[in-house]
């Protein structure tokens, strides 16, 4: 059977043979005439082996039907487009297209891939093969794109090259042009040769395409398959390591004994190592040539745990509402309300209402007649609900669509009196946030900050989001497409939408100005930071030889033993950090006047001593900050309207761990002598959670909270208008209202819309938020930097030398012992004691200096730090 007879037998819808010698081409079947432009080449050798020729094209040559024509009858859900091509360009170009922007089909190819696309108005389908082919080889190739309902497939040279799915709606029944090799828009156009473009209004089977492919003369041949090759072809699927073993072949024909590499088997080249077990020792060919088409092969495999995924082609729907249409007095519109998996509600019986607002869930209510049969309202709950506004032409065909709501149905209530179902759907902003992690919420509100020292760490996700929003001038909502976003709540400088008197209904303008009490001109933050300053104080202890050796010889009191001195030195809360240096007694000899003999031998005793001691303690420091965020403009206008907020951070540190350490002989590492105190010291403010850095961050956040609070309250001026229905109105828009008595520009805060398909009525009420201060403006904002760390106050640096006195009883003037005396207590020889002089028990008492209260606790109050902010002044002009 020949190509012509095979094609004819399949009853094509439209068939171009491209065999003209010049001029226009009348289709073989279908009654369409193509006009060729820009001089393509006629009479190229054809692809199918008969006398009919082909055409060659280079950019910008193309063919186009002389008139628009319909291609599909009503109720067609399948089609096939096929053609023979020799493509020479790397760019993706049209081989054949029918239709306009809406309702088109096309088959495109580059030299390495083939793709298909069909548009059904509000839905579409598309598919592309991997970039693994080579049409720039000088040979003809047979390409076919097939749609069968929602199943899509592409065939190249009679073999399946790709499969996929697309929209299942019926084909477009409108008119459009047929184009070959380009001619739609601005190019690029096809480069190469095209022959035999055939369109069927049905899905040809693999067998039928195989038959077509093989029907040319001579029959197509493939290159001889290599018997052995190595390497790896590129493919979109992850190369899967596999190992196959065949069973004993039942046929002697054409089973390779062993090869490795890749074998194109249609969809995916799969690397394989085939070992033929128990192959007969004779008769199996080691090489073969020829070709054979394979469908998808279910090959036994052994895979690793990796999971591979092909290219994901995410469908888009870009909607362009037409202001010339929806602002026209005679605009026509329709609604598409879908519930669940694309199920369109066809029996709306009442208004569809949608209300959206900043920081709130959007709510949509739909009333409809449910399908015939038993009703279970729960089946209409927890379903995806979408509402699309359609602009339509006079024939009822949609010209554009705009998504107005995407959410989840919550309640479905059936009214048995009139058989209607009322469904409420919501974007459930609060629920979504409550079930979202904090890190994800923070990614949705960029620029926001949070501190456990400012906010409650036990708050749920929704409150956490509100906490974040209190630090940035943003609001959060779910878009009409169902995506949660945060946007600046300030108006843009250039409006997105302008409403004049012709865009609004009479007597629908309302202006609500913020009252003084609504406004805030000053936000005062009282912030305390408490921490431990670790101190290491060193002191020199001196027990001098106050009286001298001769006085000792003359009065003969008991000398202090070295053991007594050492015991006393080590018995205090201070740690001895040096060895004790004793003032030794002299060598044997003759001393004093009158002369006295000294025989020595008193090495265990001393005349005096000195050593170093130190003590570690923690000083509690409280820094008190007053941070004032203010708007000079608002203050000038409304006076001081302020609120206070109190925060505190205490740097955790267990000072007893520091103070209880007594075994040391030097200052701790990292401590530095402070001129303010004379001590080695270091502040315990390095803790990540509540150290100085965390405190300063909390201060910045507190300042940000103050700023945002002032800005939010300045924006409580509102203008409300009932406007002509504008399907492009969203919470992201800035609107300018320009009427004879009012000019106002602000960001949309709330939209309430009512779409009544039964009554044919549309309503939209829009509320704008306007920021106003009514001051002179021009404020330079103060950076939100935390205040500088305060200097440590100067302390009364206590004496760092401690002198231990002699207390000698029996001398003239010796006083009775006092309880608070320190020193070395001894007495002159009894026979030398002055009558009535006090005497003492021998002892050595050391009373080290106390740590003053100033060194124990310090409070530092810093001067007020003022942060000025610039409040926006949105346009609000009232005039007569």
């Amino acid at each position: 059977m020949s190509w012509v007879s095979e094609v004819t037998a399949l009853n094509p819808k439209l068939w171009f043979r491209h065999g003209e010698a010049s001029g226009d081409e009348a289709a073989e079947v279908g009654g369409v005439t193509l006009t060729y432009s820009n001089g393509p080449t006629y009479g190229e050798p054809g692809a199918v082996g008969d006398a009919d020729t082909a055409m060659a094209f280079t950019d910008p040559q193309f063919g186009q039907s002389t008139a628009d024509h319909t291609l599909w009858d009503a109720g067609v859900f399948a089609y096939t487009v096929c053609s023979w091509v020799k493509c020479t360009s790397t760019a993706t170009e049209i081989v054949y297209r029918h239709g306009g922007v809406s309702g088109q089909i096309n088959i495109t190819t580059s030299f390495s891939t083939v793709s298909m696309f069909y548009d059904l108005g509000l839905s579409f389908g598309s598919l592309a093969t991997p970039n693994t082919f080579n049409f720039a080889d000088g040979d003809w190739h047979f390409i076919a794109t097939v749609r069968d309902g929602s199943a899509l497939s592409i065939y190249i040279d009679g073999a399946v090259a790709a499969t996929g799915s697309g929209a299942a709606d019926p084909m477009y029944t409108g008119t459009g042009t047929s184009n070959v090799a380009g001619g739609f828009g601005v190019g690029p156009w096809f480069e190469g040769s095209i022959d035999e473009t055939v369109i069927f209004d049905k899905a040809l089977t693999v067998s039928e395409l195989d038959t077509l492919y093989a029907s040319i003369s001579p029959a197509p041949t493939a290159d001889a398959l290599p018997t052995s090759f190595s390497g790896q072809a590129s493919w979109p699927l992850a190369p899967l390591p596999t190992q196959f073993k065949t069973s004993t072949p039942s046929s002697l024909s054409a089973i390779p004994t062993s090869f490795q590499g890749t074998l194109a088997v249609g969809v995916s080249p799969i690397p394989m190592l085939l070992n033929d077990q128990d192959a007969p020792s004779t008769m199996l060919p080691t090489s073969f040539s020829g070709s054979k088409s394979y469908g998808l092969a279910a090959l036994p495999t052994q895979f690793s745990t990796d999971t591979a995924y092909t290219v994901a082609k995410l469908p888009t729907q870009f909607q362009g509402p037409d202001p010339n249409d929806y602002e026209a007095g005679d605009s026509k519109w329709s609604l598409v309300v879908s519930l669940g998996a694309g199920v369109e509600l066809s029996k709306l019986v009442d208004s569809v209402t949608i209300e959206t607002a900043e920081n709130e869930s959007a709510i949509c209510t739909v009333v409809f007649v449910p399908p015939d049969g038993v009703i279970d309202p729960s089946t209409f709950e927890n379903q995806l609900l979408s509402v699309n506004y359609l602009g339509i032409d006079g024939a009822g065909n949609p010209t554009y669509a705009v998504r107005r709501f995407t959410g989840i149905t919550q309640t479905a209530v059936y009214d048995p009196d009139d058989g209607t179902m009322t469904v409420d759907a919501t974007t459930d902003l609060q629920g979504q946030l409550e079930n979202t992690t904090r890190e994800v919420i923070q990614s949705i509100i960029p620029g926001s900050t949070w501190s456990p020292h400012i906010f409650d760490d036990t708050n749920d996700g929704y409150q956490y989001a509100l906490d974040l929003l209190s630090t940035v001038p943003k609001e959060i909502h779910v878009t009409t497409w169902g995506t949660m976003v945060s946007v600046d709540f300030g108006a843009k400088s250039t409006p997105d939408i302008t409403l004049t008197d012709s865009n609004r209904f009479n007597n629908s303008l309302t202006v609500d100005r913020a009252s003084r009490r609504d406004l805030l001109s000053q936000y005062t933050i009282n912030f305390d930071f408490r921490f431990s300053r670790l101190r290491h104080r060193e002191i020199s202890v001196q027990f001098p030889d106050s009286y001298g050796f001769c006085h000792y010889l003359n009065n003969n009191w008991q000398l202090p033993s070295k053991d007594m001195v050492a015991s006393a030195a080590d018995s205090t809360a201070w740690s001895r950090v040096t060895e004790i240096t004793y003032i030794e007694l002299p060598e044997p000899g003759v001393y004093c006047t009158p002369q006295r003999g000294w025989v020595g031998g008193a090495e265990d005793f001393c005349l005096g001593a000195y050593w170093g001691a130190a003590r570690r303690f923690a000083q509690t420091v409280t820094e008190q900050y007053t941070l004032t965020v203010k708007s000079p403009d608002l203050e000038a206008n409304v006076g001081r309207q302020d609120i206070n907020a109190d925060y505190g951070v205490e740097a955790t540190f267990d000072s007893t761990d520091f103070e209880n350490v007594t075994d040391f002989d030097a200052a701790p590492a990292g401590f530095v002598v402070s001129p303010k105190s004379g001590d080695y010291q270091k502040e315990a403010t390095d803790a990540e959670f509540d150290g100085r850095a965390a405190m300063e961050e909390a201060q910045q956040i507190a300042i940000a909270v103050g700023e945002v609070e002032i800005l939010k309250r300045a924006r409580t001026n509102t203008v409300t208008v009932e406007c002509v229905y504008n399907p492009s109105m969203t919470l992201e828009k800035t609107v300018l209202i320009d009427t004879p008595h009012l000019t106002a520009q602000g960001k949309v805060k709330r939209i309430r819309e009512t779409l009544s398909p039964v009554a044919g009525a549309l309503e939209m009420v829009v509320e704008l938020g306007l920021s106003r201060h009514n001051g002179s403006g021009g404020v330079t904002p103060t950076p939100q930097d935390p205040p500088a760390k305060p200097d440590q106050p100067q302390e009364d640096v206590s004496d760092r030398t401690y002198y231990i006195p002699y207390r000698i009883g029996g001398l003239p003037g010796a006083l009775p012992e006092q309880d608070d005396w320190d020193g070395y207590f001894t007495n002159v020889q009894e026979s030398l004691a002055f009558p009535g002089a006090a005497t003492y028990d021998q002892k050595f008492v050391v009373r080290m200096p106390a740590i003053s209260e100033e060194s124990r606790n310090a409070q530092v109050s810093l001067a007020e730090q003022v942060y000025e902010i610039d409040v926006p002044e949105d346009i609000l002009i009232l005039r007569y």
Partner: protein, 140 residues
Amino acid sequence: MPLIAHVYKDAALTQQFNDSVDVLGASAVNGSFDDGVFYVGTPTAANKIEASSDPGIDTIDVTPNDASPGGGVETTDVKLALTNGGLDAAIGGAALSLGTVINGGAGNAVAVHYRWTNNVGGSVYTEITLDLDARVETLA
């Protein structure tokens, strides 16, 4: 299968993209633009996603693709960025790199922000797809 692996409509990775009912939408009058966002990641915290062409080396890209070039919306009308603020400077039609690896868990999901600028007028345009590279999901 209608569910698209690794593509979600929400940052928490709970609403997987279903290409039988979901679209990446934008609505804008002629001369203006509209933005949208979707998220790429895996909710399995122990896993990671890499480009299958050369895991860990090649970047995972999102690329605008036009199934009907020369008419309607062109890829140059579509910008991609990792943040909404980055859309202003993005180049229309350019691929967006999501990095060489996307670690599992919602916190590591990559937000893909897109912007469509309407330069063609009033209608509905569906010929553009945003193509996410072939990828593999493995244990991290």
